[in-house]
Assembly symmetry: C2
């Protein structure tokens, strides 16, 4: 079944705001085998919204309208959808009573303006709102439906899950949609696409999306078939071939690197410390963004200046003098010193030039050395990451975590760029 989503609200047409409800709704609908074929954002304009609803309703059998159900004059969704469907709005005293009761429980008196929320489109089923005052509405015509949902995600999500999802299931036998995700580190987007395009292009019923973040590429496979088993076998078949060509560069089926790394450390009862120069805390921040990371992260050093690289992490001053702060010997000494002073099982050290300033001919912006120290000494790799400051830092943090992941899994380390 095809669906369209209309988000209502003038604030969603400013440069600062974006409709994110539709992403969540799309995932939910896809799970039910329903495909989203168009999305729209319309301001608080009754006539324009009515036209958009009318046009969408002519094209598609399922229409979700989010937002514009509040009590103010700006909230025009009820009126506009009634206009579009050629139906009346009907006042429902039970809804008003429920809203009044809600205010009473909070020790407040309902403002007269909230009466507007008690109007329902003729023939609609009311979807009670357990969290806010605006009820949703469900209007069914044979195998087609229009659904009105409140805009705040905290109200929309439970209403969809508890009340809309079961109604959609009852609407008819859907197509089956099955998905499979790979997260991949240690390969450039263009290299990855060159390897996997010959695979996914063989499957007409398979939609493939490649999302590239620095050092972290997501490959989403999505099959849509009449039969669930067919969709499942399609993503599995293509997935196996992609696994074969990407190998141990695949690090998860959706979880971010810090979660994968955290589980590996916890399973081995190992701990990690960090010393960060150019990443300035980003590596530690990502590791500690995981709940429970205090089980394996102990701490470490932020060492922006050469003086602190020596004073805090114990890097010998002659190494800094002879090789410079952005060098393989300093990266190794940082990792070893940090491991010694924190007594962690492993230490990761990052030193590089994030830019935009600070580059030289021999050490251009994007040059980063990453070292990993363990019980058997330290290894270091040189990298040359491309992009702005934010990208270089993100690449470095992700690559450092991937080095430790490979160490913990007994996988060979990737080569990096040969030190020059």
């Amino acid at each position: 079944m095809d669906a369209e989503i209309i988000a209502v609200g003038s604030e969603l047409l400013t440069p600062e705001r974006i409709d994110t409800n539709s992403l969540w709704l799309t995932a939910q609908l896809n799970e039910l085998g329903i495909e989203v074929v168009a999305k729209m954002v319309i301001g608080d304009d009754r006539r324009r919204l009515a036209e958009a609803v009318r046009a969408a309703w002519e094209r598609s059998p399922l229409l979700l309208v989010t937002g514009g159900l509040g009590p103010t004059e700006d909230d025009v969704t009820r009126e506009a959808v009634a206009d579009a469907l050629g139906r009346e709005l009907v006042f429902q005293p039970e809804i008003l009573a429920a809203i009044e009761e809600r205010f009473r429980r909070a020790g407040r008196v309902m403002a007269e303006i909230n009466r507007r929320q008690a109007y329902v489109i003729q023939g609609a089923e009311v979807l009670p709102n357990g969290v806010g005052t605006a009820p949703g509405q469900w209007i069914r015509e044979q195998r087609r439906a229009v659904v009105l949902l409140p805009g705040p995600p905290g109200e929309l999500k439970p209403m969809f899950t508890d009340q809309v999802r079961p109604r959609l299931r009852a609407l008819g036998p859907p197509l089956a949609i099955r998905t499979l995700t790979f997260r991949v580190a240690g390969i450039a987007e263009s290299d990855l696409d060159q390897r996997i395009a010959p695979i996914y292009k063989r499957y007409a019923d398979l939609a493939t999306t490649v999302l590239a973040a620095p050092g972290d590429i997501q490959v989403h496979l999505r099959a849509r078939c009449e039969e669930e088993a067919k969709a499942q076998s399609l993503v599995e078949e293509a997935g196996r071939q992609i696994e074969a060509v990407l190998g141990d560069r695949i690090y998860s089926n959706g979880e971010p690197m810090e979660v994968v790394l955290g589980r590996l450390l916890a399973e081995r009862r190992a701990t990690v410390a960090v010393a960060e120069s150019c990443t300035g805390g980003l590596l530690a921040q990502r590791i500690t963004s995981v709940p429970g990371s205090s089980a394996y992260f102990v701490g470490g050093f932020l060492v922006y200046t050469d003086a602190l690289k020596s004073a805090l992490a114990g890097v010998p001053q002659h190494l800094l003098r002879e090789h410079g702060a952005v060098s393989e010997p300093v990266a190794r000494a940082l990792a070893e010193g940090t491991r010694a002073r924190t007594a962690a099982t492993y230490a990761l050290a990052v030193t590089g030039v994030a830019g935009p300033g600070g580059g030289t001919e021999s050490t251009p912006v994007g040059t980063v050395f990453i070292a990993l120290a363990g019980s058997e000494g330290a290894l270091a790799r040189k990298f040359r990451f491309l992009g702005d400051r934010e990208r270089v830092r993100a690449f470095a943090a992700q690559t450092a975590m991937d080095m430790l992941r490979r160490q913990l899994l007994g996988l060979p380390q990737l080569p990096g760029v040969a030190p020059s």
Copy 2:
């Protein structure tokens, strides 16, 4: 003038992707006095896209269509817009020659498929693409226009700036839109709205958007008038009143806290170090995200364990035993020890319970102590931040930076929650 934006691409209808070009375009259009009244995302479906273009073109005098200009069968924008306008597609040999030349310079032979990109809608002006192969198109009818732009932001942005913007200016006298932004720290969203709503509600021609992130609220004022001077005086008049009620909680007119703080430190030739427990590197990461931050950020400690709070930052063990790691005395000792060991002008220390685990009755999740040490000793504040791990950490990092901002500006510190 009213405009609509249609983004084309089935990948933009998945749960993972969102059309962000329209945000950038909206800001650009607003600057020209053009208001965006509807946005749409349509998949790679010629018939559906043609219908959407036809409907938008009936409603609005300016239509921007982004994406779908590539060389493959999936790229249907040229055909769909031609269908919608009832015009032919015309093959233009000059475009083909330019694309072939582009490939030749890269040492490659043009694939036959790229011929599709040489078709232009009858009567359209071609907008050359300096970055990629897909040219844009500009179709004008009296004071109305349809613009086709390539989807990749790196191609779309220069094409809009260099070729579309001047054409839009020539299209007619626009309305004037003026904006004013305040960024605010140290106040809850509901308190802020209660203070400023009576002001912005007095102005019918003023649109106000409040965007709340943890510890960081943005207030956007936007006036749209026939005359530029009127729009300007409107945002200024309302802005002055908002400044009067929010006072020194306003920290910038758009720049993030780390930029404001960095400039204050650099101006005073002061430096800062940090000791982070529950924020796990987030505070340092934000400070060092600013290019040039090595001029004032020296480094510091990540101290997740009690042992490292003592060993690295010099917190006396008896304080940890007597008060616990999440306490005012430990926060002060962390800040003082970090300042002493890094020789920075100031040190910020954060210790707290980010959750979801680790809370107790006396120190529930969200309890955070932040201390600031300077030449005259250390001060500390207790906070109770609400929300999940990510929110608590974000609140803590922002609030720590705001404490140092207030110190540098000679402003009184906000009270926090009285230590219990």
